[in-house]
């Protein structure tokens, strides 16, 4: 990793901890990207701060996706941010309890989050509070399951004509 990226990573972590303190739960560098875990209560504030802070300027939301952690009974959202000014990428993670999966929306910060959050809702059932139009986007409207959760089977598990045990599915 380039030293300049390491410096920028340290700056981001220092600034976030200075501003939000306890709400920044952990931070680590995974492969080539800084990964920060944030409490879900402050996620919108953190994203807005990262975008607007003069020295950081993470102006671009690269992508946003859902996660399911079955062992922790949690759902998560992962944001990839990119600062075009500093050419710096970071990853922000947040998680919520699966029984009450509510997270604040990022559409007020980037309009591009609109469809990505709808997709995340569609597949994981994460409810984004404040989203202008949180309905299913890729699946059909009358679907009741959230198919990307780990407990949703890929195929109809009652079938007997296929033996997948050999292939580790």
């Amino acid at each position: 990793m380039f030293p300049i990226i390491q410096e920028r990573n340290q700056l981001v972590v220092a600034k976030l901890i200075d501003k939000f303190g306890e709400a920044i739960e952990s931070h680590e560098v995974l492969k080539d990207m800084l990964c920060i875990t944030v409490s879900k209560n402050v996620i919108t504030a953190v994203l807005r701060y990262l975008r607007d802070e003069k020295e950081l300027q993470f102006n671009f939301l690269t992508t946003l996706c859902g996660m399911h952690y079955p062992e922790k009974e949690q759902l998560g959202v992962v944001y990839h941010l990119h600062s075009f000014v500093n050419n710096h990428r970071i990853r922000i993670k947040t998680s919520t309890d699966i029984k009450n999966p509510v997270i604040l929306t990022a559409t007020t910060i980037w309009p591009s989050a609109n469809w990505m959050e709808r997709e995340t809702y569609d597949f994981y059932g994460i409810i984004f509070e404040g989203h202008p139009n949180l309905v299913r986007i890729l699946n059909m409207d009358d679907m009741t399951d959230f198919p990307m959760r780990k407990d949703f089977p890929l195929e109809d598990q009652t079938r007997e004509d296929k033996d997948d045990s050999m292939f580790g599915r």
Binding site: M33, H80, P111, S112, F123, L138, P147
Partner: protein
């Protein structure tokens, strides 16, 4: 009778209605020849002008992210083919590079250059489709019929390299399945020789054509700040005047050694998008020439694979004649190799923009989570804002110039 100019003659004639203005609802799609893919737009029309648009997508959703959680890494490559099927090799190699990043495989320089040759050919093929279809939608079929023979030729080059044409499944984790044949090289060199003339001929048909310019200039313009907020990448963002290119910002596959220009537009309208793609094709030709020059200078003509025992497939003759080689081949393809725990994000400059792969591995044979950042999916949501207030025929042109590919949109 003389007309009394003082009285407002025309005003008396008009019957002013007290009722509110009436709008028409127009349904475009899901299967409509002008949408070039399966997506629906329900447009609210005031005469011929669009008041608002409501999009419905997901008609060809195939749950790739879910399937990917149940497949070993090699079996995910065919899924990536079907994202942007106009330039599958870029998707294939983007995925292979993601896995290489996770496993820490260093690819030899020769593999990088071979990949660049193929990825730039794929970019040209994709841009040919987009630009010629802009012509078709504005009523100029001629350019389309001529330039498509060059796309056909690129597909023939794919055939020489991997045997397939559209869904290529090209390359392997760590390199290629076999070295490029002499015939493939002959075809690539022939393409380099003939294509610039064809491209110029195509450009003279459209670029300064008065009718085409009237149909495209200031049609569907988009300011740069809105484009950034909506997550535009690739030629659509560059047409708005932002010089963001993953090949330059985060070089992968030795792109940092290459000398090329990132073309940008000014207004982000249909004409700018057309011209940016046109210039990108020329730059791609320039990159391929440089890559071939580098390959010619290399003494090594045989390396086409990284030497990593975890993912090197044994040669086919050995697989067919030797028991150990067959087992080894089977184990690699079925994902019985050790995969480290970790997560990576890798992005490549696909023909439509930044194609990203977010791969989370828990050490199992399949990814624990694989998310595709599909550029189409992200920028297509700006379409209602782009076409608002435009005419219907301009909306069709705007859509074709954005190059929305249904496979990538719906995953």
């Amino acid at each position: 009778m003389a007309i009394d100019l003082d009285t407002d003659y025309w005003d008396k004639d008009v019957v002013r209605s007290e009722e509110p203005k009436e709008y028409n609802t127009l349904n475009v799609g899901p299967t409509h020849p002008a949408t070039h893919g399966v997506f629906q737009n329900v447009m609210l029309m005031d005469g011929e002008f669009i008041v608002s648009t409501e999009q419905t997508i997901g008609y060809i959703h195939r749950a790739f992210e879910k399937i990917a959680e149940h497949r070993p890494f090699y079996q995910i490559t065919p899924l990536t083919d079907r994202l942007n099927y106009c330039s599958s090799p870029i998707n294939n190699m983007g995925w292979h590079m993601t896995v290489e990043k996770l496993l820490g495989i260093e690819t030899p320089k020769r593999v990088d250059y071979l990949r660049i040759v193929i990825m730039e050919l794929a970019r040209i093929a994709d841009h040919i489709i987009c630009n010629s279809v802009i012509g078709v939608d504005s009523g100029a079929l001629t350019g389309f019929t001529y330039i498509f023979q060059d796309r056909e030729y690129i597909y023939e080059i794919y055939e020489e390299i991997c045997g397939a044409r559209l869904t290529t499944n090209m390359g392997r984790i760590g390199g290629f399945e076999r070295n490029f044949s002499d015939k493939a090289w002959t075809k690539i060199r022939h393409f380099l020789k003939t294509f610039p003339a064809h491209l110029n001929e195509f450009e003279t048909l459209l670029a300064r054509n008065r009718i085409f310019m009237d149909r495209t200039i200031n049609v569907g313009p988009f300011p740069a700040d809105r484009a950034l907020a909506y997550g535009f990448t690739g030629p659509n963002l560059r047409a708005c005047g932002v010089d963001y290119d993953v090949r330059v910002m985060n070089p992968y596959c030795s792109y940092e050694e290459f000398d090329f220009i990132v073309p940008i537009g000014q207004n982000g309208d249909t004409y700018d998008r057309f011209m940016v793609r046109q210039e990108e094709m020329k730059q791609s030709m320039h990159i391929i020439e440089q890559a071939i020059a580098k390959l010619d200078k290399m003494e090594d003509k045989e390396t086409y694979f990284a030497s990593d025992p975890r993912f090197v497939l044994p040669p086919k003759e050995k697989v067919y004649n030797n028991m150990e080689a067959l087992i080894w081949h089977f184990k690699i393809v079925m994902g019985e190799t050790d995969i480290p725990v970790g997560e990576v994000y890798h992005c490549v400059e696909a023909a439509n923009g930044e194609l990203g792969f977010y791969l989370v591995s828990d050490g199992g044979r399949t990814p624990s989570r694989l998310h595709f950042r599909r550029p189409c999916f992200i920028f297509y949501q700006a379409y209602p804002e782009m076409v608002k207030g435009n005419m219907l025929s301009d909306a069709i042109l705007t859509m074709s110039s954005m190059n929305v590919i249904a496979g990538e949109l719906d995953a």
